[in-house]
Amino acid sequence: MMSRRRFVTRMIRASIWTSIFVRILSRNAQAKIVEQTSYKQFTHGEADALAAWCDVIVSGARNAGVAKFVDQNLSGDQASSLLLLRYLNANDMVGFYRKGIIGIDAESHHRFGASFLQLKKSQQNEMIAAAVASKMQVWRDPDPNFFYFISRSDAVDVVYGTEAGFADLGIPYLAHILPPKPW
């Protein structure tokens, strides 16, 4: 346990400068949206990482605001949360996401020497496939497979679980009571 923690810390420290530099360069149009967004729980870095991770799982999740969705629903109490995580592990929802985001970057630094945001598409896919197959090398906590399951559900929620998402899939929405907003 101790050695894993040390390892993660070392990888994060070693890469911090490259990470900041590349992040400045890679702030593209999508990042602009993020810049304008204020987060209550996440730092911008955490939000960017989560959004990038979810966007590989469900294309369009970043633009649909997945990081904001998660952040917003971690900020109230459990009773008002719209996250699927509340069914399965409501004990420390903020800690779950925060540790997961640290796990993503620790694994990506370990495998490719760069943060998840900086990876090539094929490398990002490889990371997700490793989460699906429970084959992460350094990321242990929270269980990467479970983190994938939850973050995938968040991404599916914002992309396909809304009226617009239903329309994209050709499903009539047929609401009794329409949601006041998508989420």
Binding site: V56, I57, V58, S59, D77, Q78, A79, S80, S81, L82, L83, L84, R86, Y87, L88, A90, N91, N125, I128, V132, F149, R152, S153, V156, D157, Y160, G161, T162, G165, F166, L169, G170, I171, P172, Y173, L174, A175, H176, I177, L178, P179, P180, P182, W183
Partner: protein
């Protein structure tokens, strides 16, 4: 801080879900002065927003549960919080236990027996289906009983696609029985088959406590207090009578609510915990625990869902979330193979939206990126599913317990659920999975696959029995040691059968309410 003392009532009920609200309406209408204490907030029909995202707000938001074992993991999904409890987002599949489910121990030498037979409960099932409003047709594999008050809902395209597989396997697929109005009933609208039951049915086509029990209870003068978490039942110094309950209100203040009769209707885990928390000098191991069985014999149903993509269009977003059709053929064959034990029931063609736990996306959790997008576009019109419920033996090792080392938000020892599926039930569940895959293959699916085994429903922990040395309550849910304390809910079931519990829970509530009515003079001092 001193407890606030409240004005005495005749009956206090902890929990406003289907069990608590039905009991409250029945006793209120019988002229009792009834108060219901509900831990969660007030709920309104307007909160039943048609969205799998927004519907999560209706779910459990009470104290945490620790879960260990191989058949646990979704307690927060299975419980409700606030007026009506899980009755606001249940699916209304409505089934009777079969005669053999009441006598598993005497017939098979395992699990437990009930203190009553099917025949004793049968009139209460008949009564409950009229009260709730049940639609359904004849089913030769179902136990005998009165015909349903409404015809079955029509067969969906999803069911029609799957039926070919049942036919090929020589199994009968019948219409489902549901507490859903196939036609307008009792002043409530008929179902429009839009598939939103999991998010709540604000038009009241699905029997939920906001449209069914609470209007009746309120007319009868029943009072309902929200944000009132019941923490213990108090008894007099002799321990022979309960004097009322202690609850924590929204300000964190302790209150004492005196009552002549106390009824725990908090759902399985919390019924057991409330009795365990009510220990005192007279009952050091918990109220109703002289037998040592309090908390024990917890059971669930082992569920496996079979998913498939069909050549024809199945309109999976339509219909009811429960199930459109049903197969009870072979239910009574509890020993389908050597070393395999338990009944099984197939619930077929549940309406599915793209997201949430039962959505089409999570049916294939390994897909991501383009593969997920392609699959979802196909699944949106060609997906089909069915779920098998398999019986779990009642064994003492599976239980609800207190963990004094961990405290919840009320400062109370946390609840722990320990549940692992006995080996012969695992074998039964595996047989059912193979059967399901064969059915889907025979139905001509392009692709069929099985999801993981998961728990569904929480049952037992305050089991009823005739012998006070081996059970917590008698057949009326009255705890053996203290005559004015009752338990209502599926926590009373000694065995779970392989069908959803709420019809049986309701039948028992009506039977207990009748008992309390009949014994009014001895119960009220």
């Amino acid at each position: 801080m001193a407890k606030i003392s409240r004005e005495k009532v005749e009956v206090v009920i902890a929990g406003s879900g289907i069990a608590g609200s039905t009991m409250a309406a029945e006793l209120g209408e019988a002229g009792f002065n009834v108060l219901v204490l509900e831990a969660g907030p007030e709920r309104k029909l307007s909160e039943m927003i048609s969205s799998q995202i927004w519907s999560r707000r209706l779910r459990w938001a009470g104290p945490e549960v620790q879960e260990t074992g191989d058949l646990v993991g979704a307690a927060n999904f299975a419980m409700g919080w606030g007026t009506g409890g899980a009755g606001l987002h249940w699916y209304a599949n409505w089934y009777r236990l079969h005669p053999d489910d009441f006598r598993v121990r005497s017939q098979y030498g395992r699990s437990l027996d009930w203190p009553i037979s099917y025949e004793e409960l049968r009139p209460w099932y008949d009564h409950a289906q009229v009260y709730f409003g049940v639609s359904g047709g004849k089913n030769p594999s179902a136990p005998p009983g009165a015909s349903y008050p409404m015809p079955a809902i029509p067969i969906s395209s999803q069911s029609a696609a799957i039926k070919r597989g049942f036919d090929a396997e020589g199994l009968t697929l019948t219409s489902n029985t549901l507490a859903v109005n196939s036609v307008p009933y009792d002043g409530r609208a008929g179902c429009i088959l839009d598939g939103w039951c999991d998010a709540g049915c604000p038009i009241g086509a699905l029997a939920n406590p906001l449209v069914l029990q609470w209007p009746r209870a309120k007319r009868a003068g029943v009072k309902l207090r929200h944000n009132a978490y019941v923490t213990r039942i108090e008894t007099d110094p002799s321990g022979s009578r309960a004097t009322g309950v202690v609850y924590i209100d929204e300000n964190g203040q302790e209150n004492f609510q005196p009552a002549d009769v106390v009824i725990a209707a908090c759902h399985t885990i919390w019924n057991a915990r409330l009795l365990l928390l009510s220990s005192n000098d007279k009952y050091p191991d918990g109220l109703g625990n002289s037998s040592g069985t309090l908390g024990h014999y917890f059971t669930s149903h082992a569920l496996t869902t079979i998913h498939g993509l069909f050549k024809q269009e199945t309109e999976p977003h339509t219909g009811v979330t429960g199930a459109n059709t049903l197969c009870l053929d072979g239910y009574d064959k509890k020993q389908p193979a050597k070393d395999a034990f338990g009944s099984r029931a197939w619930l077929v063609a549940q309406a599915a939206k793209p997201n949430d736990l039962l959505g089409t996306a999570l049916a294939k959790p390994e897909l991501f990126g383009d593969a997920l997008n392609n699959y979802l576009h196909r699944a949106s019109s060609h997906y089909g599913n069915m779920t098998v419920l398999c019986e779990e033996d009642a064994i003492p090792e599976n239980r609800v317990a207190l963990d004094p080392s961990k405290r919840d938000r009320y400062g109370l020892p946390q609840a722990r659920v320990i549940n692992s599926l006995p080996q012969e039930n695992v074998a039964r569940s595996e047989l059912a999975k193979s059967e399901g895959l064969r059915i889907f293959k025979a139905a001509g699916t392009r692709e069929a696959w099985a999801g993981p085994r998961a728990p569904m429903h929480m049952i037992g922990g305050t089991i009823m029995g005739s012998d006070p040395t081996t059970s917590v309550t008698n057949s009326f849910g009255q705890i053996h040691e203290v005559e004015n304390v009752f338990v209502a809910g599926a926590s009373l079931f000694p065995t779970p059968g392989a069908i959803n519990p709420t019809a049986t829970l309701a039948a028992l509530v009506f039977r207990t309410a009748d008992f309390i009515r009949t014994n009014r003079s001895s119960l009220l001092p």
